[in-house]
């Protein structure tokens, strides 16, 4: 390996690391607010890339149908579950949010997709289709378990992951896609050729991180989300509608996932099930940082990206193994450092 290759690998690693950072901070966010370890975060990424690809081809993306299916399922389940306790306001919200919105988006996309309106439209439509999925999934799978243990929530999360991968295969097929870069072209930097898209990924990642920081540190809503995570009863007593904080966290997760997917689609080929590995690497980063700190998670994600990139060069057959095995020493170190009763604190 010479210097140029090392730099090239570093570039690759940093870009992938940025994507893993977006996944990692999302996992930290969702866990902090809902205690859900959101395994299916990667699905949002894959689905966003697949949606952009379908729109570029002028076809109706599977996500448009999926959203409608999720909306109907969620509304139906809530009617069954709540029955007589439903208020008129809730029913109106359900009609609007779960049925009318997905149906409207589906009609819009059937009408507009063949016109091939270009990059900006594709990105906006992808966000519009993906973001509502976050709160829908939360209501469908996690809200009924709001008081369950972290382990039960994790099991639900894994179940949702498998269900979504299955749905992904049905709605998108097994073919891989690669999208047009939002930013095309390259520029030389010393011995390297850098893609503008790579710079775009980095800039967007940094902006998302700054945005999250500002949201949680500076806004009442962000603080309310944190407060709900710290003390749910306390949050209820000051009038925070705690049921909606989970929906907001999941909407943010879907939004960040969609942004990641829009970015990554042009960098690598994405299949219906590509989300899992991306999600898992973000998860490794989040775990290294103790599912706790945003900046540490981003740093760990960078490390994961670099490690993956170099191990792909030296031992490509083992690159995933190498990446995932770094979690072991971290877990051992954490459990030694924290003693036996620490888990309880982290759940509280």
């Amino acid at each position: 390996m010479n210097g140029t290759i090392a730099l090239f690998l570093a570039q690759d690693g940093i870009i992938n690391g940025a994507i893993y950072a977006l996944v990692g901070v999302t996992l930290v966010l969702v866990f902090a607010v809902t205690r859900v370890i959101f395994v299916p975060q990667g699905e949002f990424i894959a689905w966003a890339a697949l949606t952009v690809a379908a729109l570029e081809a002028g076809t109706v993306p599977g996500t448009a149908w999926l959203l409608l299916v999720l909306g109907i399922a969620t509304a139906a389940l809530e009617v069954v579950r709540e029955g007589r306790r439903l208020t008129i306001r809730r029913v109106a919200t359900m009609l609007g949010f779960d049925l009318a919105l997905p149906a409207g988006l589906l009609l819009a996309v059937i009408w507009l997709a063949p016109l091939k309106l270009g990059l900006a439209f594709n990105a906006a439509m992808t966000l519009a289709l993906l973001i509502p999925m976050g709160p829908l999934l939360y209501r469908l799978a996690f809200q009924p378990l709001a008081d369950a243990s972290v382990l039960v929530l994790l099991i639900a999360s894994i179940g949702v992951h498998f269900a979504l991968v299955g749905l992904g295969l049905v709605f998108f097929g097994a073919e891989g896609v690669r999208t047009t870069p939002l930013l095309s072209g390259t520029f030389p930097a010393g011995p390297l050729v850098v893609k503008w898209q790579s710079i775009g990924v980095l800039v967007v990642t940094v902006l998302v991180l700054i945005g999250l920081y500002a949201f949680f540190e500076r806004t009442m809503m962000g603080k309310a989300l944190r407060a709900t995570a710290v003390n749910r009863l306390g949050a209820r007593l000051v009038g925070i509608p705690v049921a909606s904080t989970g929906r907001i966290a999941f909407a943010l997760a879907a939004a960040i996932g969609a942004v990641s997917g829009i970015l990554i689609g042009s960098l690598t080929t994405i299949y219906y099930d590509s989300g899992f590995l991306i999600g898992l690497k973000g998860f490794v980063a989040a775990i290294i940082a103790g599912l706790h700190s945003y900046p540490l998670t981003a740093l760990a994600a960078l490390l994961v990206g670099l490690l993956e990139s170099y191990s792909a060069f030296f031992a490509s057959a083992f690159k995933e193994v190498i990446v995932f095995s770094i979690i072991l020493p971290v877990l051992i170190w954490r459990s030694l450092a924290s003693g036996p009763h620490h888990d309880e604190d982290e759940e509280a």
Binding site: T219, K223, A227, V230, R236, L237, V238, G239
Partner: protein
């Protein structure tokens, strides 16, 4: 004088098959201090939680002439009801300032500066500690923060569950002094106490709770002079709960 700010009629609360509060009725006149005294396990906390909407109950709870029905906790907060719970339920990893700020959640950030001024005037200690994490406060400071956070929501009826619990006598005095001040400022107050002596001193009206039901009620001064009450709640037996 207007009607009662809160009236509770035939309220019952159960934990599974165990009825912890049975058929309780209570009224709080606007601007007054009402106390419910009773031994540990009598059902005082359960009663408060039911009024706040944290626990489901049967019977009628009327705030300002409006039936609360099945309304959610956040809706009750928005109508001016506020509970300072027995366990304080602070946001322990957040700063004192952020705890207070979240108390004003129902008004949004616009009301924060105003609320800070009022709360810091009543609790200067909180201003000194405004950047400190809530979890690092002393017991008395935690109670002050819990009350300050409640005041940020500008409650019309403030419910205090055992405000003196675990506090040194001097701080108990300070807390009850602030309760009287609040009442003078027009806030109606329902305070629940094992420390009956302190509660009866500040209250206008008092209820005695035993095994989930009210056994007695009347003007606080009259109850403080009642032989039965003195024996059960104000004698040595009552004092040891402090």
């Amino acid at each position: 004088m207007s009607g009662p700010i809160l009236s509770v009629a035939n309220l019952s609360v159960s934990y599974g098959r165990v009825e912890a509060v049975r058929n309780v009725s209570l009224e709080i006149a606007e601007g007054s201090i009402v106390t419910v005294i009773g031994a540990n396990g009598a059902g005082k906390t359960t009663l408060m939680n039911a009024i706040m909407g944290v626990l489901p109950s049967t019977g009628d709870i009327t705030l300002d002439g409006k039936l609360l029905g099945r309304s959610l906790v956040e809706e009750r907060v928005n109508t001016g009801l506020c509970l300072v719970p027995e366990k304080r339920e602070l946001f322990s990893t957040m700063s004192v300032e952020d705890n207070l700020r979240l108390g004003a959640y129902r008004f949004g950030s616009g009301a924060v500066a105003d609320g800070f001024r009022d709360v810091f005037a009543r609790f200067p200690r909180l201003e000194e500690r405004r950047r400190q994490e809530a979890g690092t406060l002393s017991g008395g400071e935690r109670q002050m923060l819990a009350m300050g956070r409640a005041l940020m929501s500008k409650p019309r009826l403030l419910m205090l569950d055992e405000p003196s619990l675990g506090l040194a006598p001097l701080i108990v005095k300070e807390i009850f002094h602030i309760v009287t001040d609040l009442s003078k400022a027009g806030v109606s107050i329902l305070v629940v106490e094992q420390n009956a002596r302190a509660a009866l001193q500040v209250a206008d009206h008092a209820y005695v709770m035993e095994l989930g039901a009210f056994t007695m009620n009347g003007p606080a001064a009259a109850l403080a002079a009642d032989k039965g009450v003195i024996e059960s709640y104000l004698g040595l037996g009552g004092g040891k709960h402090n």
